[in-house]
């Protein structure tokens, strides 16, 4: 039923690491063992990054917490787990076996050690075991960083570049540097990775977080015998943060290092978003921990259908396609004007748009006079086109934003600044909100004032 072409349109190549599709498992509990990775490859995953190997650790019991948002379980996920607690010998033996049965699927060894000697030794070991690539874990935000590894490296660009260069001294396979998001400027470690000689970067690792607090026992989750610690946040909730950071790295002038995108990817659409923002492939963890390896069948079929609909013949054609449209705020067109429009036949009368605009934005929506209808009306002259209403409306395609400017003029903040057409004093008559109707404050409590008369 799919296209008869023999060419695999989903074929992926990240810095020379090939896989039959761009869907990899991220370095995490799902890649703890060869058993799991074989199951995953058998189910259709393209590649897997082994759970970080190094000096084996000891983990706690409880390890995870989750945000369940209004009944949607695991919309955000938190872990206080460390790297692999299995011996290197076990991991190496299993890597060999996986590669024996799945020569065409990518197996990447994630590593975290300290001294140069340790780096050199472990790289030789995993390369002998047959890995197709190496990922350097500079992102673990708890447990390891306190020992000077993980995100302690990710947050220090100079150290990151140095350690990367140690690795590049001996590595024969492509090297990916995994970046920590717990920095104020993701470009710095990204550039450091390139400086150190890395072949690619992957981001994001988990975000430092406290997922929630047990308010009855006065301790955060996850709770280990009455105590807790901060952990690493991931899952659907972090996707927007990850997308932004991928974009920031992809837009570094002259960067050119391929990016492996990570952060809350659960379905084909998420994956496409990352690819359009500059990722060459994607890695998934939380969704697999939630639903198992079977989610790959939705992801592959969805990506295939998208590529068929948009006539993309390879992933390469898609990488970074949205980047040219990502600008600095000051270069956005201030002449662009949209206003909200309610499709009355679809409106169900919840009036959420009204109260969102009334309390939370610009009082540009009114309820019908004498409550004869529950369909709100847009006060067009007050509408600033923020589109908050379109976001709160629970009915698909009920509120749309309609363009009101002629579409022929363009004027950005940068241009206005050059022309001197920007507000510079506190009461500047060029203030953007001047002349916009704002109700008198006491109108909010008119009912109270009138009864006091």
């Amino acid at each position: 039923m799919s296209t008869k072409s023999s060419k695999n349109k989903l074929a992926s190549n990240l810095a020379g690491i090939k896989s039959p599709n761009p869907f990899w498992l991220a370095s995490a509990p799902p890649t703890n063992s060869g058993y799991q990775i074989m199951k995953a490859f058998d189910a259709g995953w393209g590649g897997a990054v082994w759970k970080t190997m190094g000096i084996p650790v000891v983990n706690t019991s409880s390890r995870y917490g989750a945000v369940s948002y209004k009944g949607n379980r695991m919309s955000g996920f938190n872990n206080i787990e460390l790297i692999s607690d299995r011996t290197l010998a076990d991991n190496l033996r299993e890597i060999e076996e996986v590669k024996k049965y799945f020569p065409d699927n990518a197996v990447v060894g994630s590593l975290m050690v300290q001294s140069k000697e340790e780096w050199h030794q472990i790289i030789k070991d995993v390369e002998n075991a047959g890995v197709d690539g190496i990922e350097l874990n500079f992102g673990c935000p708890h447990g390891m960083c306190e020992r000077g590894m993980g995100s302690a490296v990710g947050q220090d660009p100079e150290v990151l570049a140095l350690i990367t260069s140690w690795v590049m001294e001996v590595a024969k396979v492509p090297v990916i540097v995994k970046l920590s998001p717990n920095v104020s400027h993701i470009q710095d470690p990204a550039i450091a990775a390139k400086k150190g000689g890395a072949n690619a970067v992957s981001l994001i690792n988990t975000i430092q977080s406290i997922i929630g607090v047990d308010i009855d026992n006065f301790v955060p989750y996850p709770t280990v015998d009455g105590k807790s610690t901060n952990g690493g946040y991931c899952g659907p909730a972090v996707k927007p943060i990850a997308l932004n950071m991928v974009k920031n790295v992809a837009k570094i002038p002259g960067y050119n290092l391929p990016i492996s995108g990570i952060g809350g990817i659960e379905n084909w659409r998420d994956a496409v978003e990352f690819i359009l923002m500059g990722a060459t492939n994607v890695q998934v963890c939380t969704a697999v921990m939630h639903y198992g390896f079977g989610i790959i069948r939705e992801m592959v079929t969805g990506l295939e259908q998208y590529m068929s609909d948009k006539v993309f013949n390879s992933i390469d054609e898609m990488v970074g396609k949205a980047l040219p449209n990502v600008q600095k705020w000051e270069n956005l067109n201030l002449k662009y004007k949209i206003v909200a429009e309610i499709e009355e036949s679809k409106c169900i009368g919840c009036q959420l748009c009204y109260i969102a605009c009334e309390d939370g934005a610009h009082q540009a929506i009114k309820l019908s006079e004498n409550g004869e209808s529950r369909i709100p009306k847009i006060i067009e002259e007050n509408c600033v086109g923020c589109n908050l209403c379109s976001l709160v409306c629970p009915v698909e395609s009920c509120i749309s934003m309609v363009r009101k400017d002629n579409g022929k003029e363009e004027l950005t903040w940068t241009e206005r600044t050059e022309r001197g057409d920007i507000p510079t004093t506190f009461n500047d008559k060029m203030a953007g909100g001047l002349g916009h109707f704002v109700p008198e404050p006491k109108k909010a409590i008119e009912y109270r004032l009138s009864s006091k008369k």
Partner: protein, 441 residues
Amino acid sequence: MAEFKRPTNEQEFENNFSPIKVLMNKSEAILESSKCLFCYDAPCTKACPTHIDIPLFIRQINSGNMTGSAMTIYASNYMGNLCGKVCPVEVLCEGSCVYVNQGVKAVEIGRLQNYATHKVLSEKIHIFSEGEKVNKKVAIIGGGPAGLSCASELRKAGIEVDIYEGRKMAAGLALHGIAPYKIANEDVLEELNYLQEQFHFNIIYNSFIKTKADVAKLEKEYDAVFLGIGNSSTSALNIPGEDKKEVYGAVEIIEELRMKKSNLVYGNKVIVFGGGNTAMDAASESARMGAETVLLAYRRSKENMGAYEFEYDLAKSAGVKAYFNVAPVEILGDEKVTGVKFIKTEIKDGKLKTIAGSEFNEKCDMVIKATGQSRHFELFDNISKLEIDDFGRIVVDENFRTTNPKYYAGGDAVNGGKEVVNSVAEGKVAATSIIKQLTKI
């Protein structure tokens, strides 16, 4: 007096028989699809006779891959739109949804399925392609769901297919026999056309295969034959008065209802014999045709009734009354029926027995017999070595091959008379067996 009035024109008929399952809108589809847990080894998939990957197609709706969702459905079930509407989901997929174990309402799988299939049908998005031509020909007797499903799978393998359909339209009971409030004629034909546009199987209408000569011709010209012939007309009860006017078989009257709609002359006081789903359909339809009284008469007790509970509830909600443990002994009247003489029954020594002297009469002006269909024995007799079991069903092995190696069979003729989805499943399995045999894979 009755809840429904007699429909006198097309519009009134459509109102009385408006679809029970309404097409979802996008908001509904997103909300409902979000509820699906994406179970591992999902019970709903196991419960479905065609084993549609339900969690997958629902997730594909949720992530906006509508074409993918339809492809997932149609990959397992060539009549995904029909099944979505008429399957007894309450006892199949939805009935096995894990939410039910929690006391929570099941995910509306049937309606979600239609949301997806409707998209590709209405927008004519083609998802199939006929296979590279293989020099083999198969004859399919019967263009109902089993035959159509078999034909589609054969065409996907590049085998040439001729369907011999006795009526002037195909789709069998799907078009002619299902309760009108479950699916409209146009929708059945839309899916049939959708399949034909992509698979180009040949349907020869108005051609019943009956005689030895008919059969011999097929055996000579084709490499294999699939029997998708279903069952025959309503069985006779062999009680006096059965041949009076206004005494109908359920299957026959439902066909007339679907074809003639408001133009069908209908009774006012209807008695329906039977306790299966067909009896429930006939009763519900009689109520919707504005009959003042509709009486279901079943010879066993309510507990022994074979119909699904929800079908009985539907009939009751339209005002249908039911008598249990009553058996008809005579149909009364002159030329036309005026009533039925019943006798009460009971279980004695483990057997159903009539109670002597308990006869009573019930007035009516129409009788519908929903007590079972006979089989196409005439055709069976003309196919050599074709074994039939004690219930008149064609005997097949696990490959749906009959005892005559040239013949395969599936659907009601094999299973005795189950759901559309069973016919679709069996037709497809038979086709995969035929493909194996003919292409020696």
